[in-house]
Every structure is written in structure tokens, then in C-alpha cells.
């Protein structure tokens, strides 16, 4: 409801009209927050411009992500060289695990895909001047920043951050013996609640903007797949984050007010606690009702971005656009009925196991369709191995690997022996760690020229890709074997387990070295982007010769309000590549029938020009 109030606030100041297209064009954009001279503070700090907010989100997410990266390398130091680093004791090790997982999943990937890419791309791709609720959008970022600061603040509370693992399972999360049981778990839960508020404010904007502020001609079935991915992921977030909110609030009650929602009768450190009768399984159900859709909250935007990258850099219409859209929607729907596959060993009725295994395996169908369609888009395409394309190809590779091991783990009978081993660590890092991160990098390299107006250093970008890609395989591929050996996850040290051969330690040392190399290589990315923002070669408005709307802003980087006096009008889908003859091999979405684009080309489901124009 706060959004509503805000509108009014703006209205009282003389109006604000993000859609701005009512004939009045730019002038109709209102004067609430734009166009006039802006101070540095209103332009870059308290900004209501979706592009500035997107960059704020992106930079914050990357900074906190780098913290999580350092934490992962610290964990690897302990696993590769047990006991060599005195400051990594068991308590800290668990704190590093927890913070690494939570930051990477929620505060980096979710925030970057929705808050970063969503904010930047949705209005530009659908032809809007801004999000429909710009003030709420600004609030969303500041709530997100607050949640990040609260989370990082837990490093400084007595006892340090929680070490309960990112799943925060009770009863151990709030019992003595778990690190951070005093302040850490409370700050974590408060931070999550604030994050959920931020994600809800942002999500309301993304969904409403896509539904209400598309420009003329931008039908739903002409939207780029990036927008589709972010759109469905946002709906998932809006429906699934409440489950995390519910479990977080109920655990806060258990921890701070002494209720017994999740806490059974416990004897802890020789003392009977006041809790009784609660159900830890209830928490697991609530958590995974959020946790599984969360996987797709980060995967669906990645799918969309990869589709766009593959199509643009292979100069071909995406194969099966409609199928791709429906696959995103179906995956999103199915993601709500698979959550208990995270709980096979927690115990459930065999029929439930059967049900959840079945739904889990069914998700492989639309997902595989997407992989086939990317491959078919590449087939006989005019593939340009640019940095974004390399990352897109890397994504397909790691995603297939992680997806296939998901088929193993989706089966109850296979999951039970592999549960809690490094096989699971390898699986989920490949499918929802490395893959979305490669999509993030691909997207950043692809849209950086639009965001900054400058080009990055290509050689450094390629170096970044190859080290990250090969390094990820070096880290996670061997973990499958460690897992099959039976090496359990979440252990601080692996001494005196007769079933783990000494060679496993050698493998762990190798993985640690690879992880440190990959970690250091990320500095190349940070350095490249910082330097290129100021010193890069001017990129021009459309360096990739892409057809989608965001590349046709009058200025690069786009100014506040995005478009000139008139909003663009859209005549076709975003993937009209591969035309022979003429000056270019593609038709921008804004090309009308009179500008040389025949009506036949206007349907995105078709691959116009495929019959007449063989790829070069």
C-alpha cells in the first residue's frame, strides 16, 4: 500500500507519469523527479531512475558477493590444508559456510537478477520510461542495502554470525553449541525479513510494469525472453518469499519470545529448555517451499539472458520462441510442487516421495527443451565468440552437467545414499551456483556497453571467462567423485574416516588451489569494469547489432526517461536476425512494414529469413 501513498505524494507535487506516453510524450513524464537539473545526490544516491537503482543494486550485490567469495576460499583453505590456518576453527568454518551460502543465493543472485537486471532491462526492453512505481523502487534498493548491512553487521555482534548452515534448520540453529546462537541468528532472520520487504517492493514494480507499461506493439509474445524470465521469476519470488518470511518470523518467535512452533522438547547442555512439542519438520517444509522456487528465481532470469545472448551473438532467431516462453512458465509452475525432494532423508510417506520424485523429474522436460532450443539456435548460426557468447556457451555446458546430476538426486533411491555428500555440493553448485553466475557475467558483459557507453577490454574479458569456466570445472567436477566415495558435506575435518582414502585429501588440495585461482581471477572482471567505465573505448548505441528495444535509446547510456519525445513503437519480436542482403542482417523491433520489414517477419515464433538467408 505504500506505493499508493507515494503516487499521491508525487501527484501533489505536480504529477509524475512514468509511462509518459499519453501523446504528451516526454513532457508527460511528469516533473516529480526528473528532467530538470538534478543534484548529484538526487541523481546518484536518492535516485528514482530505474537505471541508477539497477546499478546500485548490481554494485551492492557484487560487493557482498565478493565477501561470500572470500568466505568460500577460506573454507577451501581449511579443507585443502586442514589445521594449517589457526584462525579457521570449526566455529568460524560453519559461520563461513552459512554466510557464503546465504549471501550467494539470496543477497547476490536474487538481488542481481531481479534488482539489477530486472530494474535495468524491464523498462528499456518493454519500451517504458521507468518503473511504474519509481519511489517504491528506490525504497526497494534502500531496504536491500539495509538488509545487506544488517547481515554483514552480524560479523560484529557478540558470538559472530550464525553457523547454522544457509538452511537455518531448527532446533540446532537456535540452540547453544551452534555458532552465532546469541546475536547471529537474530540478525540473520531480521536481515532476511528486511530483504523480503525489499524484494516485494521491487517485485510489485517489475510485474506491474511488465503488465501495464509496455509500449505500443509490445505484446507479451514479443517481449525478449530476458523479460519473460525475470517476469516469471518475480512472480515466483512474490509467492515464495512469504514462505521464508513465515519460517523466519516463527523462528524469531521461538528464539526471542520462547514459543514452540519448531522447537521440540530439548535437553540442551544438560538443561531442559522451556520449548516443547514443536516440529522441526514444519520448518523444513516452509523453508523448502521457498527454497526450491528460489532455485528457479535465479535460474529463470538466467535462462532468459542466455536466450538473448545466444540469439544475438549467433545472429539467428531464437529457436522456438513460444516454446521457450511456455517452458519458462511451466518450469515456474512446477517449481512449487517439488520442494520436498530436499527432504527425502527427513522422512515422509513413501507416496509423497514418489509424488515429489515424479514432479522433480517432470521439470527435466521443459528444461531440456530449452537446452535443445539453445543448441538449435546455435546450429548453423553465425557464431561470434564474443565474451558474452563465451559465457552463454559456458552456461549451457555447466547447466547441462548440473541438470543431469539433478536427475540422479531427484530419485529417492539414488538420493538417499548420496544425500549429504559432496555429490550434492557438486550438483547444486554447478546448476545454481556456477551456471547463474556465468549468466550474470554474460549479461553484464553484454549490457555493459549500454550501461556505461563504453567497451571493456575484450582480452581481459576472455581471460576472465576461461579461468572462471575451466576453474569451475576443476573445482566442482572432482567433487562428484568425492561424493561417490562418501565424503560427507558440512564437515570441518576429515580425519580418521577409514572409508575416505588418502587420495581424497590430495583432491581436496587440488580443488582448493583451483578455487583460489578462480577467486583471484574475479579481480580481472572488477578491474576491467572499473577501468572501462572511465577509460573504455566508446561503444556506440548498439555494438552487438542487436534487435531488441534497449539498444535503440536515443542516448547511450540512456538518459532519465529513456526515450526521446516519443515512445518507440514495436512491430516485431526481438529476434529478427539472419537476413541476407541489405545493410544489416537483422531487423530492429522498431522496424515497421514501411521500413523494409515485411509483415511476415512480425511473428516472433517464426525464424524470418531462415529460408532465404543462409548464415554467413
Amino acid at each position: 500500500m505504500a506505493d499508493e501513498g507515494h503516487e499521491h505524494g508525487n501527484g501533489a507535487r505536480g504529477g509524475h507519469q512514468p509511462d509518459g506516453g499519453r501523446g504528451g510524450g516526454h513532457g508527460g513524464h511528469g516533473d516529480g523527479h526528473d528532467h530538470g537539473p538534478q543534484s548529484w545526490v538526487t541523481k546518484y544516491v536518492w535516485s528514482q531512475d530505474h537505471k541508477v537503482i539497477a546499478i546500485q543494486y548490481t554494485i551492492t550485490a557484487i560487493v557482498v558477493g565478493l565477501v561470500a567469495l572470500v568466505l568460500s576460499d577460506l573454507m577451501r583453505l581449511q579443507l585443502g590444508y586442514p589445521g594449517k590456518f589457526a584462525f579457521i576453527d570449526a566455529q568460524r568454518y560453519y559461520q563461513f559456510i552459512t554466510m557464503h551460502g546465504m549471501i550467494m543465493v539470496v543477497y547476490l543472485l536474487t538481488a542481481l537478477f531481479l534488482g539489477g537486471f530486472g530494474n535495468y532491462l524491464i523498462p528499456l526492453m518493454v519500451g517504458a520510461r521507468d518503473m511504474v512505481f519509481p519511489f517504491l523502487n528506490m525504497l526497494s534498493y534502500w531496504f536491500y542495502l539495509a538488509s545487506v548491512l544488517i547481515l554483514l553487521g552480524s560479523f560484529f555482534v557478540p558470538g559472530g554470525p550464525t553457523g547454522a548452515g544457509w538452511t537455518l534448520y531448527p532446533p540446532q540453529a537456535i540452540l547453544p553449541g551452534t555458532p552465532g546462537v546469541d546475536g547471529g541468528i537474530v540478525t540473520m532472520l531480521i536481515s532476511l525479513v528486511v530483504f523480503i520487504a525489499a524484494a516485494t517492493m521491487g517485485g510489485l514494480n517489475y510485474v506491474t510494469t511488465i503488465l501495464q507499461a509496455r509500449t505500443r506493439g509490445m505484446t507479451l509474445m514479443r517481449m525478449p525472453l530476458t523479460v519473460w524470465g525475470i517476469f516469471v521469476a518475480t512472480i515466483l519470488a512474490l509467492l515464495a518469499f512469504p514462505a521464508l518470511f513465515v519460517s523466519g518470523v516463527m523462528m524469531l518467535f521461538d528464539k526471542t519470545l520462547g514459543s514452540s512452533f519448531f522447537m521440540p522438547a530439548v535437553v540442551s547442555m544438560g538443561q531442559h529448555l522451556d520449548h516443547k512439542g514443536g516440529s522441526p519438520l514444519l520448518f523444513q517444509h516452509l523453508f523448502w517451499f521457498f527454497g526450491h522456487p528460489e532455485v528457479y528465481i535465479v535460474a529463470l532470469p538466467a535462462f532468459g539472458i542466455i536466450s538473448d545472448l545466444v540469439s544475438v551473438h549467433a545472429r539467428k532467431c531464437i529457436f522456438g520462441y513460444r516454446m521457450m516462453v511456455w517452458a519458462i512458465v511451466i518450469i515456474g509452475g512446477l517449481s512449487f510442487v517439488v520442494w520436498a525432494h530436499h527432504m527425502y532423508v527427513s522422512g515422509m510417506h513413501p507416496w509423497f516421495g514418489f509424488f515429489f520424485a515424479t514432479t522433480t523429474l517432470i521439470i527435466a522436460v521443459p528444461t531440456a527443451l530449452k537446452v535443445y532450443n539453445w543448441t538449435l539456435t546455435l546450429w548453423r548460426g553465425d557464431i561470434h565468440l564474443t565474451v558474452p557468447m563465451l559465457f552463454a556457451l559456458g552456461f549451457i555446458s555447466t547447466f547441462v552437467l548440473g541438470g543431469v546430476t539433478g536427475l540422479f538426486l531427484g530419485n529417492v533411491s539414488v538420493d538417499i545414499p548420496l544425500s549429504n555428500t559432496y555429490f550434492v555440493v557438486a550438483h547444486f553448485h554447478m546448476v545454481m551456483g556456477v551456471s547463474p553466475v556465468l549468466a550474470v557475467f554474460g549479461g553484464l558483459y553484454h549490457w555493459f556497453p549500454k550501461m556505461s557507453g563504453r567497451m571493456y577490454n575484450e582480452a581481459l574479458g576472455k581471460l576472465h571467462f576461461w579461468v572462471t569456466f575451466i576453474g569451475s570445472y576443476a573445482i566442482f567436477f572432482p567433487m562428484h567423485y568425492l561424493g561417490i566415495l562418501g565424503m560427507p558435506r558440512r564437515y570441518y575435518a576429515y580425519e580418521n574416516y577409514s572409508f575416505i582414502p588418502p587420495s581424497a585429501q590430495l583432491m581436496n588440495e587440488f580443488i582448493t588451489i583451483a578455487a583460489i585461482i578462480v577467486g583471484v581471477a574475479q579481480l580481472a572482471f572488477v578491474f576491467n569494469f572499473i577501468v572501462s567505465t572511465f577509460r573504455g573505448k566508446p561503444a556506440g548505441g548498439n555494438p552487438w547489432r542487436a534487435a531488441s528495444l534497449e539498444w535503440f535509446t536515443p542516448q547511450t547510456p540512456p538518459v532519465h526517461g529513456n526515450w526521446g519525445p516519443e515512445l518507440p513503437v514495436v512491430y516485431r519480436g526481438a529476434y529478427d536476425y539472419g537476413h541476407a542482403g541489405g545493410d544489416t542482417d537483422y531487423l530492429p523491433q522498431t522496424t515497421g512494414p514501411d521500413d523494409g520489414g515485411g509483415e511476415h517477419a512480425a511473428r516472433p515464433g517464426l525464424a524470418p529469413g531462415l529460408d532465404k538467408g543462409k548464415p554467413a
Partner: protein, 216 residues
Amino acid sequence: MNTLVHSGAAPALPGLSYVARRAGLWVFLGVITSLFMLFGAAYVMRMAMADWQPLRYVPWQLWLSTALLAGACGAWELARRRAHQSDGRRAGMAGCALSLAFLGAQWWAWQAMIAMQYRVDGNPADSFFFMLTGLHGLHVIGGLLAALLAGRALLQGEAMGGLARYRLAGSIALCAQYWHYLLGLWLVLFALLFWVTPDVVQIVCESVGLRTPQPK
């Protein structure tokens, strides 16, 4: 939908179109529905544990608060129907006042429950009572803040002419919609807290075959 954004050469109205704001509200109501449905699911699942003791005492203050919220809802509906008139705007203010009274009555009901030894760290049914009524109250407070922002110009005594009045009417309609939702939500929560007992759940589960019949 697009036609609403591109209404040709129509003069630019200040602020967002009502349709976009209403769409935003619908999405938000979807989020709240998801939130409280999940709380409801957690409530019923927790109820299945052996230590559950249903709430047997309904403080009369809850009936008062129900009446107050229904009154607020009615006032907002009146405001929506006469949004362009000053009495409509007064009805909106009455809706806010009744909502504040609702919050007071809920607080009073809390005190009554505490006096009867129902405590947040007691039986989980008691904990749920305080948590769910508290969260519902927070949503009422959020609505009041939004209404306050929407009516800020009015409260500051600015003239309600032309476009400002048009916009305020839109906000009033959205407030009315939100308050109708709040009333519906409260009635569902009220029923959930006091009339959904383990026996009721058992009967429902038996009838759909989720649970085997228990010997009486």
C-alpha cells in the same frame, strides 16, 4: 492494456493511471494472500502435534474489533462511492478513525487474553493468536500509512480541484479495495484461530482420505 497507456492525444494526467495502480494493488494482495495462506498451512500442520490446546476463550473485544473493522470497511465503501464529494472524503477519514479504533480493540483483546493466562510463550495456539493478529494489525497500519500519504494534500488544506481530486478519488477506491481485503482476511483469521480445531481438521482430512478415521 496498452491502449490505456497510449490513449492517443489525450492530455497527460498527473500521476500513474488508476489502472496501473490497481494492478499493483492486486499483485500486492496476491503476496499477502500467499503469506497468510502459508501461515495458515503452518498453523494446521502445527495443530497436528500432540500438545495442541485449542483456544477455548473468545474475548468479547474481538467481536468489538470485528464490528469496528466492518464499520471501517463500510466507511471506505461509502467514500469510494462518493469519492468526488467532500462527504466521501470525510467517510474516508471515518474509515481511518474506525481502523485506529480496531487496532485499539485488538490491543484490548490481547490484554484480555494475557489476563486469562494465554501467553505468546505458552501453547502454540496462543502463540499463533498473538502472531497472526499482530501481523494483521501491521497490515492495517500499513494501509493507514498509505491512506495518510494519499490524503496528505487534503490534510494540508490544498484545494481539491480538477486533477488532484480525480487522483484522490482513485486512491480512495484503492483504499476501499484494500480495506475490503483486510476485513475478509480478518474474518478468515478469526475463524482459523477459534473454530478450526484438531477435530475439525481430522474430519476434513478423513473426508478427503488424507488421514485414516480415528476411533472416537
